[in-house]
Symmetry: none
Subunit: 504 residues, 3 copies
């Protein structure tokens, strides 16, 4: 027993030591955990507006001196939670790899064809090589008098490099920065539901054909305006001025600036949108172009004015045939307005330039698991950069997706573009006439499938593109421009890659 | 006994097993703690603290085992919402258009006059052409021992272009990035309320005359310091060192750097602020200036040392006359301290340079709807960049606002500046002597009017500016500098435009 | 015996109580650790999830048409608070001053020695002169089907300037931008716990030796992959492809790009990590190097392929000797894989290049207040950039800290590096052979001391560094490279300064 006791004694002593050690370790772990917890604690993002007593939107919950009721207190918490007030961050991003069948970098991009130089997009699936991101910060507030304010700032960056450090290539910049006020008590009558804005922005009523990476109309710049003036029962109008820069007469940065102004009247009448724009860029004809862009004499004067109009229909079915959506638009522009999509962004247009463009797309579910989104984009532009030039092109594109499970779908995109371009020497481009075809298959993962605009997506893809060899001649005289025919990208090309696309 | 021993044996074995298990668990917890510490330790966004029951500042909701009452649960949610800890985002922005009566870009800016080249601001309303934004991210934490930490990072960008994509013009950069700790248990006696900081920052006690877009004193750079040392009952002091860069001797980026250091003692004694600064920039005289800046020989040596002091009064009324505020400051600097506003930012000063500056402004409501904010800024600087040079200027400015409704006010700004500048050939500038006058009227929308610093605002404006023609000669010898007289901006000028201004 | 038994009984009872208590504490610590672990990866910005009605995870609080009860409403608020979803912001930053005993800027940096040009880091404490920041934005969502998504974007900037405005020096860029999906219902079998990602990122399983500012392995770029494929019970694997850019053949930006691809298989088998990489960069040998980098003829061909492997052990004690951690890794690479740390980042390696590297570090508490973290990094590289070249170096480093109070610790770092470099004229570098020694003492303030990875810190420091004078010759033929010997930084150098370091 003594032996047993002794052994027990030993084991007890050992146990006591181990327990003491375990306690010490537990104590230390607890302390660290506590410390971790302490420092992890309290971060708020948004919530700033939840907690900031100086936030103009914090409604008082009762008469001074009265304790708010539980109902009031919960309502306030819920109100805070439900409001779109405070800070929000949103974003868009795409990033991926694009390589050819020899596992080396290849060309690509929705504007890779000769027609792309004048806006002829050919479809983006399996055809993008850049990493592009937008970070959007919004701050919303609501005031005691009922007014609301929105402040938005957008950072954007696009690079082609796959490297992680792109300090030398970075184009990170502020693309939007504006304020907008709504529900102003002063605004009555036709302005009752109107809002007023100023700063740099993308116009609220721009819209795009996502699959082509092309806006139908893209109005952006620095300016001010009024949205949603009630003209009649089913008619609202926006009036705005947007400024843009075309460069300098004389020394870069210190000479006279040439600025362009766009006056816009944008009407919504039921499902119709009718946009009218006037453009003015004084002294634009005195601006000197990069000599490399100059065509042989004689050339026309650069435009200093322009006009532009768009009529669009925003359909609530698939062309009246079935459930879905469609949009159709006709655009016409003259002078500075002849860049009919990116309003006011092209200062090299002649005073006689004229363009007409047609844009149509629709979306529908053919079956519960097959989505179909066809689109058409076509333009004829003449006297655009040189008297007598002519740019005709037409793109047909269809994005088809087959939802195979909750997380997976096969996506297909087929594009066909025909073009007849006669640039008359502008930018050292040659006349070309021919067709381009692209087909892409993209196995696609999604957290949850379920629609045309559901993101994020992670894609693998294989793309085959071919075109008439005449198209390779377009930019052969200009080493500074990528187009078909450059770097051995001459036809019958396979591309492969992977890409993520995200917005939230 | 055998039974007892057996039982003891059993209990020992069971204990040993439990201790082993506890040890294993402790080890695992320790490992995880270590891993957590390694990868991220002290962080969380506050958001998290709303849900984190272990947050140290969250009041416990009841004795263990008791279900918290509704009262307790709501109190906890409210408490979480009120916290100032965690992440916050703040911002400042202005963006707009500035054009002349021919609807073309025009000159402008608060420092457009010849005196502006040495800090003579003339008033910003209806006179700004840039899009400028600051995005400020703050992370605050509180620790179990009562310590607090603040981490701040500020991104800023300023461009003149009105275009939406400014990848080529962007100046997006990190202007502040620092950490500051407070309430350290180790700090006692005069340091009891002190905080310690290091990194890159704007000094906390800088202040400005907003209407002139001019700080009264602006100390910024990379360094470290202590704030709020209690020297006496009504006396606190800050001591800091700030470093700045002046460029290189020899090859840009690879030669010897010339760095400047500012030692600052900043005292608050009641309403008085007394700042003392010493500056040192070894080898600054060996630095080579851009030849274009060099005046004719003989010229003085570049300063390698400097001294600076400011005495300011922060008034709690409108000059003792009525409700409101006022601030007044006298600044004197010598050598590197002769740039009296932006401390240490000018490495081209001579060793004999001397400047004295006076800054005064006030704010008051003249009636319930009329606000009035006059200011004065004046300086005499000599031997500044060249022996024998002299810069004398004085600005009077008044911002007046008439609050006409909850959402609308008329703002007026009148500025008058007189100057007598003799640069002795520095930067190819010519001697000028004359006056400048500017008047602006700006119909202004606000979600809620109500004070001098209430933002956001959306303004339209019309500005008339005129000046003595002699002032047009100042920069006529230097094509790289914008001033009066460049690009046909020669006097009697109307400007128009729109602008938003925001901070939150 | 009864007495003995009684005593034993008492001690057993006491032990049992203590073990029970220890178990309870361990349980609590485990629970908190679990919670911390969970929340660590998924911070929520409430704001967004609170207010965003389209958030996929927002549970409905009751049947449609029923008004939710107070209980339900509070539960929902609490539920929102508990979510790990939404937006989080995290960051890393360091900023400070570094000057010499004459109060002027001095050289520094963890890669300042000749060996630094091939990865030989020497320890960072009191040796850094840059302001570097990372801002990381994460958006997490959870879907009804259980899938999760993570979107991450990282902005980073590093500048040497101490000035507040660094618009001209800024290198702000997007270093990461990717999407990752987990818990996909489609994934079963070995993929059950796997996640899929695409975009630009730092590989998840990179790890570093913090005190050296050197990763052990750093894989980053644009690509896609799968994480956590279950190969066997204790064996998971990641497979990925990463792309990187090496530059152009011909005109910058418009010639043929040379791209590099890294195929990686990264295995975790218990505490072991085994990484296998294949690299390919077609046409890399046709790329033209900056002539300044070219060594005399004859030189080897640039590599177009490479292989790389790493075997690492992640220890859960201090080398089995005491509580703590350690990590050890051996890396071998050939051809493009001969840059063994930053995989695929060096396109100038020859086809015969070979490197072998050893990395070891550990952390332990020597006493409750003394921390000790020794490390070793060594490499032999040959035929690296030129046939017959050889780079041998070995670094020993130890970071020691003495926690003196809740807020203060003394930190010490000693580094010794020996090198024998024979670059054979590459980059105009000369052969050198010698040793470098650095010692730093850094009084350090922290809100709360307590571990190797606890930040933020504010440090003052004094550093003494000395080296064999032969090392000064390394870069004496190349004015564009900073190394020992440039700008009078020739040995026996004192540096002083201040720095903050932060992560959260």
């Amino acid at each position: 027993a003594a032996g047993t006791d002794a052994s027990i004694e030993d084991r007890l002593a050992a146990l006591e030591a181990r327990v003491a050690a375990a306690e010490a370790r537990a104590q230390k772990a607890e302390a660290t955990v506590e410390q971790l917890t302490a420092s992890q604690q309290t971060t708020t993002s948004k919530t700033r507006s939840l907690g900031d007593s100086s936030a103009p939107s914090a409604p008082s919950v009762g008469p001074a001196g009265d304790a708010p009721s539980m109902e009031q207190r919960v309502a306030k918490l819920e109100g805070n939670a439900d409001k779109k007030l405070g800070l929000t961050l949103n974003g868009y991003a795409r990033a991926g790899l694009l390589f050819d069948d020899e596992l080396t970098g290849t060309e690509g991009g929705p504007y890779i064809t000769p027609a792309g130089s004048v806006g002829g997009a050919v479809g983006r699936l399996g055809n993008e090589d850049d990493n592009y991101a937008e970070i959007v910060l919004e701050h919303r507030a609501e005031y005691e008098n009922g007014s609301t304010s929105l402040y938005k700032i957008m950072l954007a960056d696009g690079v082609e490099s796959s490297n992680d450090w792109t300090g030398g290539d970075s184009s990170l910049n502020v693309r939007q920065i504006f304020a907008e006020f709504g529900s102003l008590p002063d605004f009555g009558g036709p302005l009752e539901n109107a809002s007023i804005w100023a700063g740099k922005r993308f116009d609220r009523d721009n819209f795009d054909i996502h699959w082509l990476d092309s806006d139908v109309v893209f109005l952006a710049g620095t300016g001010a305006g009024l949205y949603d003036i009630q003209v009649a029962d089913d008619w609202t109008s926006n009036v705005s001025i947007y400024g843009r820069d075309y460069g300098y007469i004389g020394d870069e940065g210190f000479g006279d600036e040439v600025e362009s102004y766009i006056f816009t009247l944008n009407n919504r009448i039921g499902n119709w949108q009718w946009m009218l724009n006037g453009l003015s860029a004084k002294n634009n004809d005195d601006r000197e172009l990069d000599p490399g862009m100059l065509p042989p004499d004689p050339r026309a004067d650069l435009a200093e004015h322009g006009a532009h109009t768009m009529v669009a229909y925003h359909g609530e079915s698939f062309f009246g045939l079935r459930d879905g959506t469609y949009k159709a638009a006709v655009l016409y522009g003259q002078g500075l307005g002849a860049e009919v999509k990116s309003l006011g962004s092209d200062g090299n247009l002649t005073e006689d330039a004229e363009s007409v463009r047609l844009a149509v797309y629709g979306t529908t579910y053919l079956t519960p698991s097959w989505r179909f989104a066809p689109s058409l984009l076509a333009e004829h532009s003449k006297d655009r950069y040189v008297s007598g030039d002519s740019y005709k092109w037409l793109t047909l594109n269809a994005r088809v997706a087959n939802e195979l499970s909750e997380n997976f779908e096969m996506q297909y995109e087929v594009s066909w573009q025909t073009m007849d371009l006669d640039p008359q020497g502008y930018n050292s481009f040659n006349s070309v006439d021919g067709d381009y075809t692209k087909f892409t298959i993209a196995p696609t993962f999604k957290p949850q499938v379920g629609g045309f605009w559901v993101r994020p997506e992670i894609r693998l893809f294989a793309t085959y593109a071919d075109w008439d060899s005449d198209l390779n001649n377009y930019a052969s005289g200009n080493n500074d421009v990528k187009s078909l025919g450059t770097n051995g990208y001459t036809g019958g090309e396979w591309s492969f890659g992977t890409q993520m696309e995200m917005w939230f």
